[in-house]
C-alpha cells in the first residue's frame, strides 16, 4: 500500500512548522465561523455530532493507523465513556467535569484491559477479540437493567454546567453554539496533542510496530507496552467523545453503541486516510454529513454509504488523504515544470 506512504509524507512530516501554525489558525477560524454560518438548529446539531465523530476517528486512527492494531470494537469505549459519566452524574450526583474525567479514565482502562490481550494477538484475532469485546459491552448495557435501564435508556441528561466567571455567564452549554465550541475545542486540542506525539519518536516507534513487530523488537522497541499505550490513549479519547455525546443528546440507549457504530468510525478513518491524522478528521466530517445530505433517499442512503466505503477501499485505499496528496503532487509538479 505504498499509496499511503506519499500521503503520509506530504501531509505529515513535510509540512513546516509555519504551515502547521497557519493550519491551526485556519482550523480555529473555521470552528468559530461554522455555527455562525449554519444558524439553524438542525445543522448546528450536526456540527457537534461532527466534532464528536472527529474525536472518535482520531482516537481510532491512533490505534489502527499508527500502531496498526485492528480494533473493531471502538464503539465499546465510546459507550463506556458515555454510560460511566452519565451514571455517575445521574445516580451519584457527581459534578459533570469530575464524571467526565472518570468516564475518560474508565474507557482508557477498558482499552488497556483489552490490549492486554492485544499484546499476544495479531491481525484478525485482535479484530475478532475487539469485536467480541464490543458485543459484550453492548449486551451488558442492554441487560444490566437495574443499572442502565436497558433498552428503555436514560433520559433527561443535563448539559455541562455553564461556565461562569465572577458571576457572569461566559458560556451556557444549553446553547448549541456554545456546546459546539466546547467539543470542537476539545477535539482540536486532542488533535494537536496527538499530532505532537506522532511527530515525535513515538510516531516512528508505533509505525515500526505496525510494519513489523519482530524487526521493531530487534531495535529495542517493547511492542507490547506501546500497543497498550496506543490502545489506552485512543480509547480514552473515545471515552471523552462518549461523555460529550451523552450530555449533548440528553438520552442514552445501548443501541447507540452497537458494533455498527464501530464500523462507522472505522469507515471514517479509512475514507479519510488512516495513518494520517488529518485524513480521518475530514473522513469523520464527510461521513457525518453525507447520510444527512442523502436523507432524501430514504433506506437507500445507507446503501450509498456502504457502496462509497467499498469504492474507496478498492480504488483509493489511502482515502481522502491520498486523493489530496495526488492532487497536491500534480500541482507541485506543474509549478516546478
Amino acid at each position: 500500500m505504498s499509496e499511503t506512504v506519499f500521503a503520509q509524507q506530504w501531509l505529515g512530516k513535510a509540512t513546516s512548522s509555519r504551515a502547521r501554525f497557519l493550519g491551526y489558525l485556519t482550523a480555529v477560524a473555521v470552528i468559530v465561523t461554522l455555527p455562525l454560518v449554519f444558524n439553524d438548529t438542525y445543522w448546528r446539531t450536526n456540527l457537534t455530532v461532527c466534532a464528536i465523530n472527529v474525536l472518535l476517528a482520531i482516537g481510532l486512527d491512533f490505534i489502527l493507523g499508527y500502531a496498526g492494531q485492528l480494533n473493531l470494537g471502538h464503539s465499546a469505549f465510546y459507550g463506556l465513556g458515555a454510560y460511566v459519566s452519565t451514571l455517575l452524574i445521574v445516580k451519584l450526583a457527581v459534578p459533570f467535569w469530575l464524571a467526565f474525567v472518570a468516564g475518560v479514565a474508565f474507557a482508557g482502562l477498558a482499552g488497556t484491559f483489552l490490549s492486554l490481550f492485544a499484546v499476544r494477538l495479531r491481525g484478525h484475532y485482535l479484530a475478532i477479540a475487539s469485536l467480541g469485546f464490543a458485543v459484550i459491552v453492548h449486551q451488558i448495557l442492554l441487560n444490566w437493567i437495574s443499572l442502565t435501564q436497558g433498552p428503555l435508556g436514560i433520559y433527561g441528561i443535563a448539559p455541562p454546567p455553564a461556565l461562569v466567571v465572577d458571576g457572569t455567564v461566559i458560556a451556557d452549554f444549553r446553547n448549541l453554539t456554545a456546546f459546539f465550541y466546547l467539543v470542537a475545542g476539545f477535539a482540536l486540542l486532542s488533535f494537536l496533542l496527538l499530532s505532537q506525539l506522532v511527530r515525535s519518536p513515538v510516531g516512528e516507534t508505533l509505525t515500526a510496530i505496525r510494519e513489523d513487530e519482530v524487526s521493531a523488537a530487534s531495535l529495542g522497541i517493547n511492542a507490547a507496552a506501546w500497543k497498550v499505550f496506543a490502545f489506552g490513549v485512543g480509547s480514552a479519547i473515545a471515552g471523552a467523545a462518549g461523555c460529550f455525546y451523552a450530555s449533548f443528546v440528553g438520552t442514552l440507549v445501548p443501541d447507540a453503541f452497537f458494533i455498527t457504530e464501530a464500523f462507522n468510525i472505522l469507515a471514517m478513518v479509512i475514507v479519510g486516510g488512516m495513518g494520517t491524522l488529518i485524513g480521518p478528521v475530514f473522513g469523520a466530517v464527510l461521513l457525518t454529513i453525507l447520510p444527512e445530505v442523502l436523507r432524501g433517499l430514504g433506506d437507500l442512503r445507507l446503501v450509498v454509504y456502504g457502496a462509497a466505503l467499498t469504492f474507496v477501499v478498492l480504488f483509493i485505499p489511502g482515502g481522502m488523504a491520498q486523493a489530496a496528496n495526488a492532487v497536491g503532487e500534480r500541482l507541485w509538479r506543474r509549478r516546478s515544470a
Partner: protein
C-alpha cells in the same frame, strides 16, 4: 589475526553453553557452546538448514532456548526478551529482509535510535529545545549511517522501493543505529553483486576497527575467509568444528561435509 581475537584473557563478550532449540521433531540447534571474544569477527557457516539462523535468533532473543544458557558481558540473557537485549548492546539483521517497508530509508534508521533518545517526557507533547536537538542529532547520525552504507542519496525513498542490495545495506545501517557492541548479521551478502560484496567486506572491517564485535552467518566463503577471526561450522544443528579460517580449510570433516571441492 588480531590480538584480541585469540589471546584475550578473562570473560568473552558472548558465551553460549549447550544451547538447544527444537521445532517439533527437528533439532534446529543442539548442544552448541562457544565463546566470542570482545572485538572478534566470529563467522558461522554450514549447509542450508544447519541451524545458523536459529542460532542468531536465540542470541537476539527472537526464540527462547529449550535448554542451555547464553551470557553477554557476564549477564545471563537466556530468558530476556529481545527488546531488552538491545539495551545491552546486541543488534541484528535478518536473512529474510524485514524493513519497515512504508517508511523511508532515513526513517528506518531513525527508528533504530529508539533506545537512545534523550527527551524529557513532557516535551513529547510540547516540543522544546531538548526535543529539537534530539531530532536533529538523530537525523544527522542517521544520515551518517546511510553514508556509511553508501546510501545517502536514497534517504527519502520508501524502504519497500529500494533494490535488494540497498535493502540489505539499509538493514545494516538500521541495526547500527542501536549502537551495538555485538552485531549479528545473517547472510548479508546474499543477493549482492561482487562490487557490493567488496563494499560489505570493507564495512565489516571498519566496524571492527570501531570496536564492534561481529557474528557473521554467511555462505560466501571468500568473504568469510577474508574477514573472520574464528569460524564455527555447523551441521544438523550441531557444531562440526571450530577454529581459524586456515584450520577450517584444512579440516577433513569440514571439507567432506560442506566445503567439498570448492576450496581445494
Amino acid at each position: 589475526m588480531s590480538a584480541t581475537a585469540d589471546g584475550a584473557a578473562g570473560e568473552p563478550l558472548l558465551r553460549t553453553q549447550e544451547l538447544q532449540k527444537n521445532f517439533g521433531g527437528v533439532k534446529a540447534v543442539s548442544e552448541i557452546s562457544f565463546d566470542v571474544p570482545m572485538g572478534a569477527i566470529f563467522a558461522v557457516i554450514g549447509p542450508n538448514g544447519a541451524g545458523k539462523s536459529t542460532l542468531i535468533n536465540l542470541i537476539s532473543g527472537v526464540y527462547r532456548p529449550d535448554a542451555g544458557s547464553l551470557s553477554f558481558d557476564g549477564v545471563d540473557l537466556s530468558t530476556m526478551p529481545a527488546h531488552l537485549r538491545v539495551r545491552f548492546g546486541i543488534a541484528r539483521t535478518f536473512q529474510k529482509i524485514r524493513l519497515f517497508r512504508q517508511l523511508t530509508a532515513l526513517d528506518n534508521v531513525i527508528a533504530g535510535f529508539h533506545v537512545h533518545h534523550k527527551i524529557p517526557a513532557w516535551q513529547y507533547l510540547v516540543h522544546g529545545a531538548a526535543f529539537t536537538a534530539d531530532r536533529r542529532r538523530c537525523r544527522d547520525q542517521a544520515m551518517q549511517l546511510l553514508e556509511f552504507v553508501g546510501m545517502s542519496g536514497r534517504a527519502h525513498v520508501p524502504a519497500g522501493s529500494l533494490s535488494y542490495g540497498e535493502q540489505r545495506m539499509l538493514e545494516l545501517a538500521r541495526a547500527l543505529a542501536t549502537k551495538p557492541r555485538l552485531l549479528l548479521i545473517d547472510e548479508p551478502a546474499a543477493g549482492l553483486n561482487a562490487a557490493e560484496v567488496d563494499g560489505l567486506l570493507d564495512r565489516i572491517r571498519s566496524l571492527r576497527h570501531g570496536g564492534t564485535t561481529v557474528i557473521l552467518v554467511e555462505h560466501n566463503m571468500d568473504l568469510v575467509m577474508n574477514v573472520a577471526d574464528r569460524i564455527m561450522v555447523m551441521e544438523y544443528g550441531r557444531r562440526l568444528f571450530e577454529g581459524t579460517p586456515a584450520e577450517v580449510q584444512k579440516n577433513p570433516a569440514v571439507i567432506a561435509a560442506y566445503l567439498g571441492g570448492e576450496l581445494l
